[in-house]
Subunit: 185 residues, 8 copies
């Protein structure tokens, strides 16, 4: 076994920085449970120093723009919701507690976003996985209710938007996806 | 940059302050899951300043009166319970730990009230929603057991009463509703 | 003693809704420790129903505008900070985690805002109170470091902005005050 | 093996139940730090069964009466506060969040009461003990600020009232003592 | 409505202190879910002062004796367990972490005891109630697994013993009941 | 009083220290739910002092070696995971957060390891026990998902490895077992 | 650098198991802050397997005996206290909540014991270290008040006893030391 | 409305990815409190997409190498410590609980690392800042004791190493710096 530090760990996502452009954002559109998609990650080896990696994130401006677009979509639909944007590490970047949103909505929104970014899929898709693996929902920080949508770059999750407060998770998720879509404009 | 604050967000509940009177309190009597009811909120735009909204709450005197009436109802039925009143933001306003109530009753009462005010329905109704959306009960702070009843003004939730300690949630909720009813006297 | 509910509790802030207008926002400018200022509250008795009170809050749009202005001020100064806006109840309404802000900044910002809104004074003023009452800082949820500024309506606190991440609390607070000022434009 | 339970542990407070009457309630009036006072306890051996002890508590009605009297006193003084009553075990029995009280006041009131009942002295007295033993204030659940007052029966603590929200702890404590006094009427 | 404090709240358990003797301890032997049993409480009005009630508890010596007997029973059966005794308020009075007991056993034992004392029934009985009311198990502090047994005085719960670590909850509960039985010797 | 400590508590695992050697490590290979296996413990009476026992643990070097082997196995399979090693007391000894592992993986890995060491079985086996005892999964600190594997000495658990982040628990557990196997080399 | 697993880490405490006997227990008697004492540890390399170490602990019987002796000492002095015994890993092994002990005493006792075992010195000695290093007391789980005493084997800490509830930490610690002394009888 | 996202936020750290090489790691060597140093951040605008930023991190292999080197340094000095490596977001990446390290050391190590990475300075330097700003130490997650050292790239913090368990923080920090130095080899 070589020294830990001299082994070269090949990352499977390559050339990330070179090709990103408008239009690369979007919620998972196909098979959310595909292993291939799941193991993508928005990190890449730093070519100039073997000890470093580069991690892709939304800027706070982009996150705020997405959150605002999400809230606007809810408002148009006459719904009172809270919106949260979390990064790939599960840290909350932006929150907007909408006027009149219920008290349960704040932490729900954060957890839906956390769940979506953890498995790189909309939470409405993830709910289906509980049929085969019901205890997934016992993982701390998660919430398996519709309303979370990942923000992806070339299929890898870099953030997620979570929404809570509308009468159904489907509606919450529609707003979250409107927020994701705003990043491509 | 167009200021975020100059957009006019139209609130769907209007003329709230002008028409409130005795008799407007009551638990949800009809279709607890109706979206229309759910999206009502006891907030309204402040007409004199675009940055402000007005939020309706029970006074502490009203909350204490309701809690006392709730405890009295339990006592008449020979039950030992704890009573909690929370506001629309989920904050506890009044608690009364009844003589001989079990140790599980205090936090249960708070959570039942939190749950009732979050979805603007008695918790006995909300339990039924778990059939279609079982993970609702994973939202932090909630408890899906009978015993919580919302306090409404024109259909919008402004508070809730939670009760725990009786042998059944149905009994707990009967006491909670007696507390709500006391606000109309 | 009359029934609890029939006593009339006279609130000391009157005519709140009638006279609010642009320019009424601002951080405490005078004697932050004056009891008179401290006991003002942005609540008023609801004239039409003895059980209700009206509570004034920022709209989410106003809070987001203030938070954005705060972050912009920090950016102009070349500082990386996190911004939080909390309401009078201490609940977080908006957060913006700035690009490159340290990991300690998120909860610090929330706590500074919580502290400012609790005592209706900038946290830089509140730090001084620890000389006579050092244990104030043991109250849960508080943080006695410069960087929090209250948002007032006629002298009563309705929200606060907290900032953390700059090398000094004085700088943090300068940005927070810029956020408050944006509400008067 | 000699049974642990056959040893007779003599309790130092005797004849507790026989002599309690109106007028026995009151805050500590003399030397709060006297060891003799501190080691009294409102428990007594059950004479009919060696395994049992009897523990004295306020009824919820008494606790509610005291809390209401406390809030009334604050109101008369024009202060907005939260009131908490805890029993000798530190459990909260009654809370009243006063209209317009700051968000820091709820947990502060509970902790002041917890502190007063733990050491059987008003918290304003207990603050002085920090001069010789500063780390007392690191004990979980405590808050060393004026505003907590014990409820005593023959010198032993059976409950405490905590108040928070006024500009000074001295004022908070004045209201708490008014609440204690109401139990002797 | 009379003043809160002057109402006389009649407690349903009377003459508690006069008749307790050896042999009154025991786990629920009959219908654990009977409302009558459930609403009994080991508290009684203090006849000499309307504001006071008397609360019955195990002495620490009795609790230690019961815990030791529980551990001895487990040892005889060759099982490694943790034992906890809690009082009627849910507070832990005695714990014994047995040699070699698994790390999950400590908090499990406390929660089983908490659950047993809350509903005044062995936890193996309480598990059955989840069939009709599955969300009971979401109440904070509870654990619905065999291994908890209440300690009763005239049918009212005054404490409970919880055991965890054996391969089945049935075994755990057998040890807990041995501990309860030791109090009648 | 016969001293508690003079009773001789016979431990069922004997001669532990004398016969351990390479090759004794391994995940449970047979009937994971056998009571006999479950009650083994890696502790033994200290022969020279009746008050002491000896507890067997991995060295940190061994734990780090196992964790590294686990991460290497995941990497070879192209999976991004977090690895945790906990000791028999449930304390975390080593963690490795793999590059690009999801935010849910860190606490998941710790909990899987905690679960495996608590019941001395791979978590994939333990999931099956929920069929007969579903509430096992409510025990604090546990997570019933594949990915945890115990490290045993003569059948008794002394540590466990937990892995999270791969698309399935089965894969996670394969890596964990590779880590266990590395201790026999 | 050799492989992690093949390096031989020499432990500085040798021959631990061979020479332990009655009388080796005792609180630190000399210079509590001596680095030499502090770095001793009750672990030793397992000679038969390079991956294992042996960790010395009190049996539960010994811990219960010590706790009971501690409580007896307090009782003789007429003090009401809670006693906790923790092992070298900081885990609570035995607790005894004394009759009439204050509500703050339970967690205080555990933390004092945790502190004493962490630095292998009575907490009254450790308080003095805060003069040069005041922030030691910010370490989670600690409490720097007299009342904790380590249990040592050949100078290394294997457990600690914590006591809380007496009027002074000095008294608490006297009882704790009586508990330690009981292990040498 | 001008899109939030179209504003160009100029980051002050440029050309990060192009020039990193061996030897760029190191603890702060000069004026730790210099604002210029503090506001550097290891993030940079993504040139190909205005919504993205790139964040530099250690690989898990580098973090493990550094942690191992830290533990080796402690071992050479005969000290028993726990080591933690956290990234710029405060998340723990690697932990190694050394053989015989005290129970307080695990969380201490994590908090020291968190503190060092938050302010980009060794914690021994940060302790000095408390002279002018004592309440810094009230920020959640921090610990102001020597033993934390940042890992920097061109002066910006990308990670930190925390060590706890040696008799002095100075020694802990020496080991942490040895870990940082290992990254330049």
């Amino acid at each position: 076994m070589k020294k830990i530090s001299t082994r070269t760990r090949v990352l499977t996502v390559t050339a990330l920085a070179t090709a990103l452009g408008a239009g690369t954002f979007g919620a998972v559109s196909a098979n959310a449970s595909a292993p291939a998609a799941e193991t993508r990650a928005a990190v890449q080896k730093d070519l100039s120093n073997k000890h470093l990696q580069q991690n892709t994130r939304l800027t706070v401006d982009a996150a705020a723009k997405a959150a605002q677009a999400t809230l606007d979509a809810a408002e148009k639909a006459g719904q009172r919701v809270t919106v949260a944007v979390v990064d790939r590490d599960g840290k909350t970047v932006v929150t907007l507690r909408g006027d009149g949103a219920g008290p349960q909505s704040y932490e729900s929104a954060e957890r839906k976003a956390f769940t979506a970014v953890s498995w790189n899929a909309p939470t409405s898709e993830l709910v289906k996985r509980l049929e085969s693996t019901p205890n997934l929902k016992d993982i701390p920080g998660t919430l398996f209710l519709g309303g979370g949508a990942p923000v992806q770059v070339k299929g890898a999750p870099i953030a997620a938007i979570g929404v809570a407060g509308a009468p159904s998770g489907a509606q919450d998720e529609e707003f979250a996806k409107a927020g994701v879509a705003a990043l491509s404009r």
